[in-house]
């Protein structure tokens, strides 16, 4: 109970959701990349703006609620078919530039979330050991 409260306070649960989201999005982006030559394939993605809006909204509710009463576990981003790419004659709306930059940005966001989470755990570890390392 004590450990749960310790871990679930601050931004750790939110960072956990970001890592989960980027991981799911990475899977979809890789599927898009694998299907760049597939006839009629339509690109899939998770809405980053939608996810951030949900996270912001939940964060505001969380701040106004008692500690530990509101979580982020039920936040689920919807799969969408962005129409930003040019529709090629084979029916595929690939955009390699968009795709590769999305993969890179998504990976950076994932690594950032993980790194911040790691720092938080390190701080927690330091507090538990009562020793600055």
């Amino acid at each position: 109970m004590f450990i749960n409260r310790l871990i679930n306070q601050g931004s750790a649960p939110m960072l956990e959701q970001v890592a989960k989201f980027t991981s799911q999005r990475h899977g979809l982006l890789l599927d898009n990349l694998a299907n760049v030559s597939t006839f009629g394939y339509q690109q899939k993605d998770l809405s980053l703006d939608g996810f951030q809006a949900m996270l912001r909204e939940r964060s505001e509710v969380r701040q106004a609620s008692p500690p530990g009463s509101v979580g982020y576990d039920d936040i689920q981003a919807e799969v969408e078919n962005p129409q930003s790419g040019i529709l090629f004659h084979d029916g595929n709306n690939r955009s390699m530039e968009q795709l590769t930059s999305d993969v890179a940005k998504n990976a950076l966001m994932h690594n950032l979330a993980i790194e911040l989470l790691r720092k938080q755990f390190a701080t927690l570890d330091m507090a538990l050991k009562e020793r600055v390392t």
């Binding site: 980027t22 599927d31 990349l33 694998a34 299907n35 030559s37 006839f39 993980i114």
Partner: protein, 134 residues
């Protein structure tokens, strides 16, 4: 997260199969006889890809459905010295356009490289996640 590597691996396999078909086309662009030695020009081959992993069509990835033969007409080249020429001196040559094959080859090669890079990104993400334990 490990299945992301399978997604990219399925793309590598598909692009390699496509590249094999292209290589066969380039190799056979002047072939006018079949394996039995009869006058029957080589027909262009191309790979048809579909969404879904080869082992599980519902999983993300791509797979080769089949390698088909291009049914477009053969090229006719005027060559009286060729033993297979018709009464007007024309010889049926494979229906292969080297420019198309080269463009397809570059596309397959770039797609292969892109998926290799994606695998590297997947590995870096997995490493970052695993560092949480250490």
């Amino acid at each position: 997260m490990f299945e992301n590597l399978d997604t990219s691996a399925s793309a590598l396999t598909a692009q390699r199969t496509r590249m094999n078909a292209i290589a066969a086309n380039v190799a056979g662009m002047n072939v006018t006889h079949d394996a039995d030695g009869k006058p029957n020009p080589y027909r262009r081959k191309f790979a048809i890809m579909a969404e879904g992993h080869p082992n599980d069509p519902d999983a993300p990835g791509v797979h080769i459905v089949s390698v088909e033969q291009d049914q477009s007409p053969f090229r006719k080249v005027l060559d009286w010295s060729h033993p297979d020429h018709d009464k007007d001196g024309y010889v049926k040559m494979p229906n292969i356009d080297l420019a198309i094959e080269m463009v397809d080859m570059m596309e397959a090669s770039r797609a292969y490289e892109a998926n290799i890079s994606a695998m590297e990104v997947s590995k870096s993400m997995m490493n970052a996640t695993l560092r949480l334990l250490a």
